[in-house]
């Protein structure tokens, strides 16, 4: 969002309270959504739950195209549409709900830096594994991404998305990396997160912040998603404090949700942590 639009949205946002019918849009859960989008969506849902704001999750095949920035998830609140975690955090702050008010300046700097770490390394690694690893792309990503569409549109859209992601990897210098190196990067990222978390319940001691929501979204999705092999999940599982962190947030914020949704596990994602 441009600065002027942001300021405008903030002003309008501040005027109205959070409505009951706020909706979050994401791609179809069973057939279409991929690992990276699922992680981002879970991060936003966790953040809103932590703020105590109700939101309905609606799955649409064209969620990506409905989004103002082209990225999922996005939320529809009142008469505004906001996409991606960063702008959503600012939007909720304008409405008076914030998780990071209690932090001092140095802590806020660290929080922002670690959020960028997750975006820079974990999210990029997820995209790489999905789209740049030929095996995964052929077996999982392309079929799932194009499942709502009929031939020939499904092939065209899938290859277009793959090409776009590969160009991005090229631009940021990841195209020369092998899969092993990417797993190594994931491991380093998890080690950094594990170090920062230490033995505390949340990253900044007693209260969860948007960083906790983001980390939970990505780690939980990695742990509960079955890809062509389990190596990614194994890298995360080797850090026990991260595992217990995920358990804790799942128990605290999603226990009710799990009791409600008794659906059996799909081929793609399992319901809860092993």
């Amino acid at each position: 969002m441009s600065l002027a639009a942001e300021a405008f949205v903030s002003q309008i946002a501040a005027a109205e309270p959070w409505p009951e019918n706020a909706t979050l849009y994401q791609p179809l859960k069973e057939d279409q959504i991929l690992l990276s989008d699922s992680a981002s969506s879970l991060a936003v849902q966790t953040f809103l739950r932590m703020c105590g704001l109700p939101v309905l999750v609606s799955c649409r095949a064209n969620a990506e195209y409905m989004s103002p920035s082209g990225k999922v998830p996005f939320i529809h609140v009142g008469n505004q549409v906001v996409s991606e975690l960063g702008p959503i955090v600012q939007f909720t702050k304008a409405k008076g709900h914030s998780l990071s008010d209690g932090l001092d300046d140095v802590q806020r700097a660290e929080m922002k830096a670690y959020m960028e770490l997750v975006n820079n390394m974990l999210l990029t690694a997820e995209l790489y594994i999905q789209w740049c690893d030929d095996h995964t792309a052929t077996e999982i990503s392309r079929p799932r991404y194009s499942s709502p569409y009929s031939w020939p549109l499904n092939h065209i859209l899938a290859y277009q998305k793959q090409w776009e992601v590969r160009r991005k990897m090229n631009a940021i210098g990841w195209s020369g990396k092998s899969l092993e190196q990417v797993y190594e990067d994931v491991s380093q990222c998890c080690q950094a997160l594990s170090q920062r978390l230490g033995t505390q319940p949340y990253f900044f001691s007693k209260q969860p912040t948007e960083l906790d929501a983001l980390v939970f979204g990505h780690l939980f999705t990695i742990l509960t998603t079955q890809l062509t092999n389990d190596e990614l999940a194994e890298k995360v599982k080797s850090y026990t404090n991260l595992l217990s962190f995920c358990h804790r947030i799942e128990q605290t914020y999603f226990k009710e949700h799990e009791r409600e949704s008794q659906s059996g596990s799909s081929r793609h994602s399992k319901g809860s942590l092993p």
């Binding site: 660290e110 960028e116 770490l117 631009a171 990222c189 950094a192």
Partner: protein, 324 residues
Amino acid sequence: MLKMAAPSELFCWKAGLGLPSVNTDCLIVLAYARFAGAPLKIHKISNPWRSPTGSLPALRTKDEGSCSQPSQIIIQLRKQKYNADYDLSAKEGADTLAFISLLEERLLPALIYALWIDPKNYVEVTRRWHGENMSFPLNFFLPGCMQNRQLERLRLIRGNSSLEAGEEAENELYHDALECLNLLSQRLGSNKFFFGDSPSSLDAYVFGRLAPLIKIRLPNCRLQQNLKNLDNLNTFCCNILSLYFPSESKEGVNRPMSSTQQGSEFDNEPYKRRKQLLSVLVAVAAMLSYALLTGIVAIEHMQEEEHVSPASLRGSSQDEEEEE
């Protein structure tokens, strides 16, 4: 331990604009090499095609080939036991990764925009330097190619394929960058380096990304004005320059003085006049030779015959007079 093996070679953009190297990635690698005390053979060149990987910076090792990304070069140097992060605790190592990610996502796009995409800065500073310092005939087309590549890179990093030079993009990028700079300033506080008294890879990255913004005088960059207020970051950069790049910082002080304070127009004026005279002379000579070779040649021959005929007449009349 005496190292018998030949040192690795590092290819970098050469010094200019007040910095040990004009390219931000090269600055990172040079700074890290100095911090870790790595004995590298440094080649400062201005032709990226001469580098072993086709782009700069590039590290060529004897056994393991070449690599170009700053992160890969640093990993390679660490493998050779030149590790500036040796003394860091595990938490500091984690913070390093996090803050480097912050730099790459928030500050680097604004830096690319300020140097390569903003039209005024590109024409007056970046393209001018590259045009003057690269060899013929690369200096005619390579800066343009590099600009296109940087725009493409910026669009892909930001995920916005319709990003163009303009006020909207500028505001957005500089806003994010300013937030990043404030966060860095808060983290640095009044310390000399980010972790204790000796510099680490995070200091190298921050130096590499900040030094161009602090040292290069850009005509149209609001970010530089805001950066002047963050004293600790300015001191941090100047500190590293004076401690680890003493020779280059002295040269750098002189160069911007001579080229900008006296005014670039005065320097160029005598050359401008000379060039104008030369071009006028060349044009006149070209026109004359074209005229000689095509049309006026005939006229000149006729004039000679006319001269000849009165002379012969006179000659005959003189003969007649003499005879008489």
